[in-house]
Each structure stands twice: as C-alpha cells, then as structure tokens.
C-alpha cells in the first residue's frame, strides 16, 4: 500500500494543518498532532473565553427579546457556540468541552482485576473527545449538525478506501470503536473517563451475561485517519493480542474504548487479534427485564456483605449516566416517545417500538443541513422533512429511549462491511463508518439496536438453547 504523498505547501496549508487531514506522511502528521497538543492549554483558554462572552451576550439578547419569542432557539444557539466553531474551520477541541478535572483515584468496580493504574492525561481526554466527535459525526455540509462543531473538512471516514479487513468467527458483526453517554443537545461525549492498562491476552470482565466470545483478526489497509489507535471489536472488548489502554467511564465502570499502546496512529499493515463479548441474550430473556422504574432497589448492607443485588437491579450510576438528557430538550420529543411506546409493556418492546418508528418513518439521507441554533434531534424529528443520517437516527433513538426511562447510549464504529466470499473476510470501507444505539438491560448489559433506516436490524434469537455461552460473571 502506498504512503500518502502530500507535503506541506502554502496553498494547502490550511487543510494540511487541520487536525485530521490524514493525507500527510506520518512524520508530518505527527508534527501537526504534536502542535495541537502543545497549544491545547491555549485552545482551552480561548474556547472558555468565547463561551463566557457568548453566555453574556445571550443573556442580554434574551433579556431584550420579546417575551415568549425564540426561547428554544436562543438556548440552542448558545449551545452551538459551546460546541462549535465557525463553519468550515477547525476549532480547538475544548471549544466544545472544557476538560474534566481528573481525580487521581477512580472507581473501578468492574476492573479491579486489571493491572495498571488509572491516570489519564487531560490532554488525552480532549484529544480523544475530538477524535471521537470527528469520528462520530461524518462530514456534512458546513452548517450540518449535531455537528456544526464537528464539521471537519476531509472527514477521514467517509472515503471510498478499504480501511480494514476483518476475519471474524461470527458474521455480520458491527465493529465498535467507542461509546458515548452524555448528550448536550449538540454533541456526544463521555463525562468522566479514566484509563487502565490491559496486558496482551488478558481478559476484561464482561458487563453482562450471557455473552459469547467473538474472535476477529483485523488488518489495517488504509488508516482511517484517526489519530487515536482504536482497537475495533464486535462488542465489549474482552482481550487483545497486544498491550492496550482501556478507557473506562469513571462513574459506571463501563468500557468505552480500547486504544493500542503505541504512540503512532494505525498504519497500513498493522494487524491484531481481538476477542469481544457479544450478548447472547434472546428476545425472551430481554423481555423479562423491567424498566428501571419498575426494577427492585437494593442497598448494600455492610452487615451482610454477601447479600447480592437481585438480578434485575440496575446500578444507579449506570442509570444516572445513561438516562441523562440535555437541558431544555424540546418537550415534544418526550411526548412523541411516550406515544410510540405507550402500547408496549416491556422495556424491550418499547425500545424496539422506538427503533421501528425511526426506521419506518424517516429516510436515510446524508445531505441534510441542520439550521444554526437548533437542537439536532428536535429538528430531525419534527422539522427535517423526516430525513437524516446515522447520527440523527442513533441519537434520536437514544434520547427518546431516555425520555421514557430506558437507559441508552450511542456507539460509534463501523458496520460489518462487505463480505469477500473468495478471501472469506469482511471488507470495511471508510463509508461504513456508523453510529448506532445500545440499550442497557439489567444483568444482560448493553444490547445493540439499529434505528437507521436502510440498514439491516440486528438479529436476535427469540429463544436460545444456551450453547456457546460463557458463565455469568462472578
């Protein structure tokens, strides 16, 4: 495979110094990445100042506007500025999200057994959130968004190249890079992340059961342009054949992403084997799980340390993180979600009703343009002419689910791609980059849903015979 040939030139210097230009040789790319890191403190200060000015401006503007007018759009506009740059220009990552303070101790209930410590550089977080967001929100027209903020020229994932070859022990698996739990009305991010080291071939603990292991061999063909070397896997990553860094949600202990321990981005020819936990839950099992509001409560009693929570108990931390809703969300979203799910009694059926509603009533279209100042999901559901692309579908399902009390999040990654029957492997192209939704079922963990119209829904057995299933977590 040939290396990118471009070198710096005055004519293209704007694009070439964008964060994820992706067409420079490795050394040049590294210089640009290092410069962004070097100027990160500046970028943070700059964006905080811009945010403060805007907040003050919006206050005056609001106080001057006539009562009752434009309430939502003012709020929306303010949020956009918290997270967006001017159209077409790259913005410092922190223009979207000030860095989170990082306590030195992290709660790692699920990760006790893992080796390594917990520090994560603030920089990593910020860089990461950038990567994630640029990843998550494929390029749209300059004003598009859920990602006005994420409008990067040359979105690295939507190229026509093959990015990965995947040999998989199970067919049709989506490939996850990272999941997000917090939606602020315009962007997804993770509120608090800590990191931990995973040695080669060591296992993480599954967050749900029953699950089975899917093994995949991944070969990088054309690097996708991500600066972070994500390990992709069919579900929650169980093990990798080389040392990696786990990014873990600090409050819930959920595994968000796995990064290869190597300073350089993924390169052509890189190869790894990854095992993932994939839910084996069948529909009957999932139907048996109550909504959090109907689930039993549990209080840890130090006098009875052996007393375990009931199987359908939800960890309140998981609920807090995954029932989060942006402030000032259009109340019509909740009303719509309630009307769609009202006829169903189980959480699974309600989730499926939301999924089907979006699949059936909206059209997949990447050429949409979110008017400035509008919250993306409200616009998508009510004003878009019923069209949008995966970011809108996945976010709409997650937010509508949350609005009716179903814990949900979004996952960025790739669809299963195209199967090469001769080579017996899956070809993943840049344009397979995707965002989908997961719902959390007590005990069973995260379960995939595909709300995007024109994509195949996930197949789940109605009932399983229980083969090929790992034992429950200890």
């Amino acid at each position: 495979m040939k290396e990118p040939e471009q070198h710096f030139s005055p004519e293209s210097i704007d694009q070439q110094t964008e964060r994820f230009f992706g067409e420079l040789p490795a050394q040049e790319s590294r210089l640009i990445a290092d410069l962004y890191q070097a100027y990160m403190p500046d970028a943070e200060e700059h964006s905080r100042s811009l945010q403060r000015i805007w907040n003050r401006f919006a206050q005056v503007q609001e106080s001057q506007s006539r009562p009752g007018s434009a309430h939502l759009s003012t709020k929306g506009a303010r949020d956009i500025n918290a997270h967006a740059g001017h159209p077409g220009a790259p913005v410092p990552g922190s223009f979207r999200q000030p860095p989170q303070p990082l306590p030195r101790r992290s709660r790692r209930s699920l990760w006790r057994g893992l080796s390594g410590g917990m520090a994560v550089a603030v920089v990593l977080l910020i860089v990461l959130s950038w990567v994630l967001l640029t990843h998550t929100f494929p390029k749209g027209s300059p004003h598009t968004t859920l990602g006005a903020s994420l409008t990067l020229d040359g979105g690295p994932h939507l190229n026509q190249n093959i990015v990965f070859l995947v040999k998989s022990s199970e067919s049709g698996q989506y490939l996850a890079t990272i999941s997000f739990d917090t939606y602020d009305g315009h962007t997804w991010h993770n509120a608090a992340v800590s990191s931990s080291q995973l040695l080669a071939n060591k296992r993480t603990t599954s967050e749900g059961s029953p699950v089975h292991l899917v093994t995949q061999q991944i070969t990088v063909v054309n690097p996708s342009g991500e600066q972070q070397p994500y390990i992709i896997g069919a579900g929650q990553i169980a093990s990798v054949d080389q040392p990696t860094t786990l990014l873990i949600d600090k409050t819930t202990g959920s595994l968000l992403a796995v990064l290869r321990n190597n300073d350089r981005p993924l390169a052509t020819g890189d190869h790894y084997t990854v095992q993932s936990y994939v839910s084996s839950a069948d529909v009957a099992m999932l139907r048996s799980i109550p909504l959090p509001v109907d689930a039993p409560s549990f209080t840890y009693d130090p006098a009875h340390p052996d007393l375990l929570p009931p199987p359908t108990w939800y960890d309140p931390n998981i609920l807090n993180a995954n029932l989060q809703l942006p402030k000032n969300l259009n109340p019509k979203i909740k009303q719509l979600a309630e009307s769609i799910t009202a006829g169903y009694s189980t959480m699974y059926d309600k989730a499926e009703a939301l999924e089907s509603y979006l699949r059936d009533h909206y059209t997949y279209n990447v050429n949409v343009s979110l008017p400035p100042g509008q919250e993306g999901i409200s616009w998508f559901l009510f004003n878009s002419g019923h069209q949008g692309f995966c970011n809108y579908f996945a976010t709409a399902m997650a937010i509508m689910a949350r609005a009716v009390g179903i814990p949900a999040r979004v996952v960025a990654g790739y669809t299963s791609g195209k199967y090469d029957t001769k080579q017996h492997e899956w070809l993943i192209h840049g344009f397979d980059a995707h965002l989908w939704t997961q719902v959390y079922f007590a005990g069973y963990g995260w379960v995939n849903f595909e709300p995007s119209a024109s994509f195949s829904p996930f197949t789940r057995p109605l009932v399983t015979n229980g083969t090929n299933i790992l034992p429950s977590r200890p």
Partner: protein, 186 residues
C-alpha cells in the same frame, strides 16, 4: 428565531478571530472578553447591521473592534503576549507509559518546545493563532494585519522549519515505525 440564529452564526464565524486579535492587543483576558462582548452588543443594538451584506458586516465588526481596542488602551503601550508560556508541558506525564516510550516521547516533545521557543515572535504568533485559536489563514490575516498570502507563507515556513527539526532529529517516519516495532518486541 431568525435573529437568534443570525447572531449565533455571526458569533461563530467571527468571534474567534476578533477575540484573538483583541487578546493579542490587550494581553488581558478579562479586558479582551469585555471588548468582544461590547462589539457584539454594539452590533445587536445597531438596527441596520443585519441588513448589511456579509462583507460589510465583517468590515464593520473589525472597525468597531479596532476602535474599541484603541479607545480602551490608547495610553498603554502594546503589551507582549507570549504564547509559548501557555504550551502544555504536562504532556506525556501519563505514568502508564513504559519508561522507554515515555522517554522517547518526552524527548521529542521537549524538542518541539525548544524549537517553538527559538522561532521568531511572528512565527510563534502564527502557530498560536492556527493551533491555539483554530483560525485559518484568511482569519489570521486581519489579526496580524497582513495579507492572506503573507500569512499562508508565514505559516508554511514556520511549519517547514519545525518539520526540518523533526527530520534532523533522525526520526524519519519509516525508521521510526521500524523502531517502534522492534521496541514492542523487547
């Protein structure tokens, strides 16, 4: 509704550049924030502003901004804003990194630091505006009071200088990758 979107859009487009300019001139973050706020409030209170074409709006914003800076700081000499002081030096202090990798990375990073500090002030400024403020050349031009072409050239030369420093450190991408791989096996 329309009006809100109009100002949000206006702000997104121009506030980053205007703020960078004012901050460069005043060297005080609080003052710079006050001035930029003042500029946008002036625009808000100018009934005909929204009717201007875009070119005129931009020219108007910049004129008002320059005037306000002058008004406020007529008597004080321009204070130097030294961008390099803000450079992150806590990078790669992740104690998860193996000592060798950390060492390698830190060395390279220290080198970048040193290289930036050794650059002429103007080159440091263009780096800060590009990477710290996220401005494109056309937006940097009014901040530095230069033509867009001159900014392009300046940024290009600055990047080339840094690139050469990286290259002269003997870290060509291919050899480096080979090195990283062999490191992994040890």
């Amino acid at each position: 509704m329309l009006e809100d979107a109009f100002y949000a859009d206006l702000y997104q487009r121009h506030a980053p550049g205007l703020f960078a300019y004012v901050y460069r001139q005043t060297a005080s973050r609080e003052d710079a924030e006050d001035i930029v706020l003042d500029v946008f409030l002036t625009a808000l209170q100018q009934p005909s502003f929204a009717t201007f074409d875009e070119q005129k709006q931009v020219a108007w914003l910049w004129t008002i901004t320059r005037n306000k800076v002058v008004d406020r700081f007529r008597r004080s000499a321009r204070q130097q804003h030294v961008p390099i002081d803000q450079l992150a030096d806590s990078l790669y202090e992740d104690d998860e990194l193996s000592p060798e990798r950390e060492h390698l990375k830190r060395e390279e990073y220290t080198q970048l630091h040193r290289a930036i500090k050794a650059l002429p002030e103007e080159q440091q400024e263009v780096l800060q505006l590009r990477f710290g403020c996220g401005l494109r050349c056309t937006e940097i031009a009014p901040v530095l009071d230069k033509s867009e072409g001159a900014v392009r050239m300046l940024l290009y030369r600055t990047i080339q200088t840094l690139r050469d420093i990286y290259a002269s450190a003997g870290k060509g991408s291919r050899t480096n990758q080979g090195k990283a791989k062999s490191d992994e096996r040890t």
